[in-house]
Symmetry: D2
Subunit: 359 residues, 4 copies
């Protein structure tokens, strides 16, 4: 069952449950001589933290990260970096009464079928808390990418909540950190806030779409045919809790495009590099990066922990209802934004290091 | 650059270019004592072959497969199975005049950036011909899945071409093999045929969406967190040429669903198994199979080899136009249907074998 | 540089340096529902601990292990098990004065060449302290092997120190835990003790040979051709610090045997299993286990940290001498015995789980 | 059972049985733009061919290799290179009468236990014929190593047959290709020839030791802790048929050395590189190359196919005798020399490419 790691050259394995002692990751393949300290990693975790707004889970976690290994006198040694975050605010009593019932839409039933045991507290390993470890690994990956000539910028944003979509004409990256929804459209941010207030008060939840863009990625990253950059990105995003779809560039919209509309034509650009006239490809062709922005979107389903009773079974197969009390997220897609950025960073770092074997 | 294989327990590596000597695959991890012969594999290749209708590339390839190893007296020995298909109809002269220009929307530019060399004939390794090797591997995978109690059925269909979608109320699996478009809706099949005739005559092309469904998959397959069944499926489908998006179950539509609408409630079913009241999850929760149909869809972009001139660059960076002559596909999505089935089979076979380590 | 993990189905990654904050491992692929607690793991660490006798390094470490994840109510959940051991007795001042010189026979120079940085304190990552993490992982592996019908017993012993070899006619496994040298021959144990006292007083060191035997291994484990059981064992033992050779069964002695002498003939045994008339194969033929005892031996070189000056270079390339003060081991082979057992356990656990995919 | 490949960045999978249609390998991770043709690969196969002298199996195989993919206009494209060798001289009738009996010392019994089926003709997949595929892969690896500044030279030799060892004072690499035994000592070559004539006439066989030396390996190759250069070499050599032990540098002799004797002291050498005063380390310290010659030795057991009856069982568990007729090798160690060179090349190529990710 060795499925807890991802990556080849730059690889990390996460460990830890929602209500266990600690969670964290071991990052393997970290190049030596990079500056790395806890403050750098903490800055990315702080962006992810629950309890930051009325839209995200009201669990208060300091998420303080410790570096247990792999750094000496402030620089990476090339040996594995183990990052650990101790769990503090677990509020086990919120969950104890449902330990024998399967929450529909959660992994309770499937984990039971596979393992015959599940840590029911807060979703155990399937909980979104595991993503704190990913964000920590992503911080290390971003450091790795600083070696790319010209630098790589990775930014994520929420582009849809429920039926409401961002207006791309109003897109402003600076807005993303100005509102609690990572929304790049100031007008939409207000509309969505009102909408989500209603959802939350009803004890309900709604889905979302996250978009992550990486700029400055050199052309040629990726390894056809089976370790393509886009297939690795698709896989990585799909490993995030609650994700049900991933697309690159124009994504599913390509179905309706003709060949003339879809292909990104080329003209001569500065420095001998091509200037593309569009980016339906999302920065990836034939599984390799083109040098354009790498654009990935993923859909996050609505939380299944909601405050209305649901029909289900218990572990003995008897029909019953289940009612989730306590904390819940009206839209888990919001907090998936930093996680999507982290996964983009990890996949790009992995491919960047593999690419360097030939330069 | 070891990116030419996929899978862990059941793993295959493909080799070969569009206009090279031969193409094929080596399938590693094949259980012993399974019946396997060339006729079985050939039957799946014949479903994929180009030149079968006016909608697919007019290249005539017998695609005759040979088993070079791994079978003794009609049964697998547990050693690698090497399958080889010799290339015959290559029509090199169709491509020779464009060896210095990058075709927009193809991998020409990206392969050049990465390798400094590309086999420009017919798209070399990035060509869709490589998928014949996948279909061959998929045939072996289907054999592996015959060991699953109750059996696993894998079926694919085209559900959208351009703006035209299938009507799910008219869905009939038996229709899929009755028309050249793998369409499960007899009415749509005729409409789409007329539509595609127009596209083809204009020398144009259009995108499509393929849906693959696997029934009879036992609950519990998949390995959280990073080798989840859905992330492996997403990755596998994204490795198919021209795919720009993958979704599971309700897919991107989950963004607009509320928690009540999305979660698949459970009642008691026969044999002590749950009966789910819906399948927005697409048969996968928390990265593990639920026992329901596994439903995957992927979007295929329109062919970029079309018969109108496109603006591009040559290998020296000069602006130029490019015009593709010869064979072209009005809709490559059609032939992706058997390939999607093959990838579903390979991923499920891999997870089935890994699952068995615990049963 | 993702070389910090080993194994496929049962896989572990270690982290941590000799003088860093902590060290440990993440064990991935642990089957669910196994009993696991800190006491079980601690019992194996206690067998390895330094400072136990006058023959091993006088560093006092409690080596107290904590389980950070993967266990719920005393049973494994199937998710990664992270084990952590905090470093306490580091005595940095013993090393500080040699941070610019390469100790001959150590990895100082090679790590410098590769990484451009090295944690010189106590050998950093190349130190034998990393093996505490392996012993911890080995404890988990032994638990996995308890599922093998009939049980698997793994025992190691020291069979040679310097020029002195054990007398196999006097071999008694019970003696191994009765003396500080893990020696199965009570007479040799006393001779070796006197010999090593002399070595230690001279500030010198000597090499050794360790033998590890696994009984009860079912026939058929291993995956030809490249994941053979013996090649995985050779690799695993060679990853232990200071090992310079590995052999199976008769090992290098086979060079002098004839075909008649070497081949282990078979007669009918109880329960329909073969009874072999000898075990030159060491329990492995063609890379697969035969059902006989798996016998592995490895040679450990003498410690290079000795108390006489050695000619070397400093980091600027100037010739100099180096003198190691402080703690040193007269024979690091002694403490390698539990480590060899742990590696045997991990490799067998990995192959056992992979074998189960076909039973 | 995905154990038929080896390597990470430079990776190959072999396929094919002794008496199947063909055998070969797929080499993944080949850098682009290298010259590669069939003549280059054939030259290495010709060195390995059976039937070359009275000391090696009298099977006449042309071993003609074909390149099926991965090369365009004489240069590698970066895509997988599939090399195929068709089997011709199989002489099945030599084996047919023993299909129900297990030959002692061969993998017959173990393969039966694992797979329930075995291709008994000539040892099927466990036969030494599989090594032709390795030699072919090794030829590609040597091409990869030509990119190492200063070049890497890989040479193998037989250093012991039965009780007879080479005299290192008479070592002359030029002698290796002057006699049919790959012996670097002209005097020993004659003695060994007479000795082996006797062995062969008696229908017997004897073991051997092979030594492979790589010169010009840059310092720093290898990835601690678990993908060390020496552990990968140990693993690779142990995957060769009939190998029962592997050692590096002084190998098992280190057990008898003191710390003073073993550690290779350093003085300042030309070009700022160290000049080591000895090479007990065999060119590897802490799992990384030092820049010195990498020296590996492995022991090959005597062939178990000999011309005297042996006691064994048949597939029904009944006691019986077995007598092997037809071709047999008095010393399989001889033909293992080019195979050892090939494995050295493949492992070094893999580590070289991984090393480049950081240079």
């Amino acid at each position: 069952m060795a499925g807890n790691g991802i990556g080849t050259q730059f690889r990390f394995t996460t460990f830890g449950e929602s209500h266990g002692v600690a969670l964290g990751c071991v990052v393997d393949g970290v190049p030596p001589l990079m500056d790395l300290d806890e403050a750098w990693i903490q800055s990315f975790l702080d962006r992810r933290k629950p309890g930051q707004s009325r839209f995200t889970t009201q669990r208060r976690e300091p998420d303080a990260v410790r570096i247990l290994s792999g750094v000496f006198e402030g620089k990476t040694t090339g040996t594995p970096v183990c990052l650990m975050i101790e769990n503090e605010d677990q509020r086990s009593k919120d969950y104890g009464d449902i330990k024998d019932k399967f929450r529909p839409g959660h992994a309770d039933y499937t984990y039971w079928e596979r393992y015959g045991i599940r840590d029911y507290r807060g979703g155990g390993r399937s909980s979104a808390r595991e993503t704190a470890a990913r964000v920590a690994a992503g911080a290390v990956a971003r450091r790795v990418l600083e070696a790319v000539p010209g630098g790589v910028t990775i930014r994520g944003a929420l582009v849809q909540v429920g039926p409401h979509k961002v207006d791309r004409a109003r897109w402003d990256w600076d807005q993303v950190d100005q509102n609690p929804l990572f929304c790049p459209d100031a007008v939409a941010a207000e509309e969505w806030a009102a909408y989500l207030d209603g959802i939350r008060k009803n004890g309900s939840s709604v889905g979302a779409v996250v978009e992550v863009v990486a700029s400055g990625v050199p052309a040629g990253l990726g390894e056809p045919i089976y370790d393509k950059l886009d297939s690795d990105l698709a896989r990585a995003m799909m490993t995030i809790n609650a994700v049900k779809g991933v697309e690159i560039g124009a994504g599913f919209a390509v179905a309706e495009l003709t060949g003339e509309e879809n292909a990104d034509e080329m003209r001569a650009g500065p420095d001998g590099k091509p200037a593309f006239l569009s980016n339906n490809a999302g920065g990836i062709l034939g599984g390799l990066s083109t040098g354009q922005d790498v654009v990935v979107r993923f859909a996050v389903k609505p939380t299944s922990s909601i405050l209305t009773p649901r029909r289900t079974l218990d572990v003995h197969g008897n029909e019953t209802d289940i009612l989730t009390k306590g904390r819940h997220d009206p839209c888990v897609g919001i907090r998936a934004v930093p996680v999507g950025e982290a996964m983009m960073a990890c996949v790009l770092a992995d491919h960047w290091l593999r690419f360097r074997a030939y330069r």
